[in-house]
Every structure is written in C-alpha cells, then in structure tokens.
C-alpha cells in the first residue's frame, strides 16, 4: 500500500451512467485520485462478482449486475469504502 493511501482517508462515490453501467470514483481526502487501487463488485454476502483496478484517473466502470451489489474500493487495511447500490446517485 502506498504512503498516499496510509496518510489520507479514502473517498469513493458511484454514479449510474444511465446505460446499465456504473462508474465509481476513488480518491483520497487530499483530492488525489486512487490510481491502480483495487476495486471489487460484491453481492450482498460478499461474494466477488467483479474485480479490477481504478484506472489512470481513479475510476472503475462496470456493467450493472443483475443482483443487488456493493461496490468496494479497497485502498488497503483500514482504508476500505463500501458503497451500497442504494447509495448510487
């Protein structure tokens, strides 16, 4: 885990793109983007449906699963943000 991830608290927001895809943006409290950090889409019991990395601008776009899901932005131990599907704007 990078120093950036340790020093600042993680932030994450997800947006419904209106085309059956979701974009989640990860970053840190100093405004920096979460480039290369782990991104996961899990079902409500924690089973991993999709796994990837935040891209060069700290975003991860995925096709909206059929099941209820939770997006997990994982910047290391103690720096994990989970976004419930109902909190997606």
């Amino acid at each position: 885990m990078g120093g950036q991830a340790i020093a600042h608290s993680p932030l994450c927001s997800c947006f419904d793109n209106g085309d059956d895809t979701i974009t989640c943006e990860g970053g840190f409290s100093d405004g920096s983007a979460a480039v290369g950090m782990e991104a996961r889409v899990e079902d409500v019991v924690g089973k991993v449906l999709l796994k990837g990395e935040m891209d060069a601008i700290g975003e991860y776009t995925f096709k909206k699963p059929e099941l209820p899901f939770v997006f997990v932005f994982d910047a290391g131990p103690g720096h994990v943000v989970k976004i419930n599907e109902k909190d997606i704007q």
Binding site: G3, I6, A7, H8, S9, L11, C12, S13, C14, F15, E25, G27, S29, D30, G31, A33, A56, I57, G58, G78, H79, V81, K82, I83, N84, D87, Q89
Partner: protein, 265 residues
C-alpha cells in the same frame, strides 16, 4: 546444549523456546533499530501507535447533541475519531468549533440538524469527516470530496454556523496563535519524505498537544468570544448540488492533467 532423546512434548517445546527466545529478541531489537523516527511518524498514527504499543489517552469531552429526524443524537469525540479512522487534530478542532458554535447559537438547547448550516474554509480531511458525521450521518459513502485547489492553512480553521429558524449566524475561528505556524510545512515535508528527525519530533509534539490538550482548553481560549449576529440568506442549494459541482471541478482537473501529461521517455 543437546536435547535429551526421550522427552515429553512440553519439554520439547520448552527446549525450542529456550533456543529461539534470544534469537527472537534480537530480531525485535533489530526491527526497532531499523525504524527511524521519520518512518515512525510518517504514516497513519494509529497503525504506528499499535505497532509500538502506545496507548492513547482518550480525552473526555461532553458530547454534541442534535435532533435528527426528531430523535436526540449524541456525537462524541471518540465516535468522530472512529468515523475518521484515527485520532486527528482536524477532527479535534472541528469538534470543539462546532460544539462552541452550537452553544453560542442555541444556548442550553438541542438544535435540529435540519435547522443548521455549516461552512468550512479548510478541506482538511479530519474537519470534513467530522462535519460530514454531524450533518450527513455516519455513512462513509457520503463523505464530501474537497473542492479542487481548496488548500489547508492555519487560517482555514474558520467555520460559519447558521441557524435558519432564527436567522442567526456565528463565525468560529481558531485563534491563529493556537495553531503552529509551521504545521503544514512540516506535514508537507513529511509527505515529501524530506523531514528531519528533529522536525518529525516537533510535528509529533504539535499533534499530541492538539489531541490531548485542545479537548480540555476552554472554548474562548481557542476561539475567542464571537457573538452571534442576525443575517439574511439568499439563494438555494439543492440536495447533491454541491457534490455535483465538486465532481465537475474534479473531472475538469483530471481532463487538464491528461491533456498536459507528457510521458517520460
């Protein structure tokens, strides 16, 4: 030292530990010696304290009471630290400032959260997280992003609290002399890994002072005695409007970064 051939399991274990303990002790000593003060203080305080067995004294300070959806809610400093992730000077300052502001605006009352508006002139993570906890609740998915290029400075601990029902506001600003002039300079050096051991110690002392002493310092010594004043508000901020605008700023900033990015050859 030879181990006897016929031994019980307990004896064999005792023998193993008697041989391994000095080696283990040596390894621990080496690990401690290899950690410079810079490394010790550079990261997350909580992780560092846990690693070195430092127990943190939890400052006891009265909770902030608010009515949320008609029910009284108590926010303690401990809960605020937990929401932020660790003990943090920004959380402590914002806690005392918001608590004092509420006391000045609604003496002896428990205000309704929906009746309050709060502004901050700093985007310090601890401050943002604390005000998020007060105004939005404890859902980490709803944490506020900092507006692009909103800096942090010792003059930024300046909060405006407004009470809509009485058209009153009060400005709570940390008196600059209460905040070290070189705090953010040292934080930057820490981030850049150019901080010296002496500077690390100084930064650690600053943080310790804020965390352990600020919760107990009388509010007027921290913030003076600002008087609430009557005010008129114009304009409308729709739910989510600010988040949308901040995201737009971030997107523009990212576009600029991508446009101006020159790959290394």
């Amino acid at each position: 030292m030879k181990m006897p051939k016929k031994t019980s399991k307990v004896m064999r274990l005792n023998f193993f530990f008697s041989r391994m303990t000095p080696l283990f002790g040596l390894l621990v000593l080496l690990a401690v010696l290899m950690i410079s003060p810079e490394q010790v203080l550079a990261g997350d305080c909580m992780a560092c304290h846990e690693k070195h067995g430092v127990m943190i004294r939890k400052p006891s300070v009265s909770p902030i009471k608010l009515k949320v959806d008609g029910k009284e809610q108590c926010i303690t400093l401990e809960r605020a630290f937990a929401f932020h992730g660790h003990e943090c000077p920004g959380v402590t300052i914002a806690y005392r400032a918001v608590q004092y502001g509420i006391e000045r605006l609604s003496p002896g009352e428990t205000p309704d959260r929906d009746d309050l508006l709060i502004t901050s002139r700093t985007s310090a993570a601890g401050v943002k997280d604390f005000i998020d906890l007060v105004m939005k609740g404890d859902n980490p998915a709803k944490k506020t992003w900092p507006p692009v290029n909103m800096g942090k400075s010792r003059d930024g601990f300046d909060f405006l609290l407004m009470k809509k029902s009485t058209c009153q506001a009060v400005e709570i600003k940390l008196l600059p002399e209460n905040f070290p002039a070189d705090f953010y300079l040292l934080k930057q050096k820490q981030k850049d890994k150019t901080i010296t051991n002496e500077e690390s110690d100084r930064l650690h002392r600053y943080m310790k002072k804020i965390l352990l002493e600020f919760p107990h310092v009388p509010a007027d010594e921290l913030f003076g005695q600002p008087e609430p004043y009557k005010m008129i508000l114009w304009g409308t901020v729709l739910p989510g409007e600010q988040d949308k605008n901040i995201r737009k700023m971030r997107q523009e900033e990212k576009k600029n970064l991508v446009t101006h990015f020159t790959p290394e050859i």
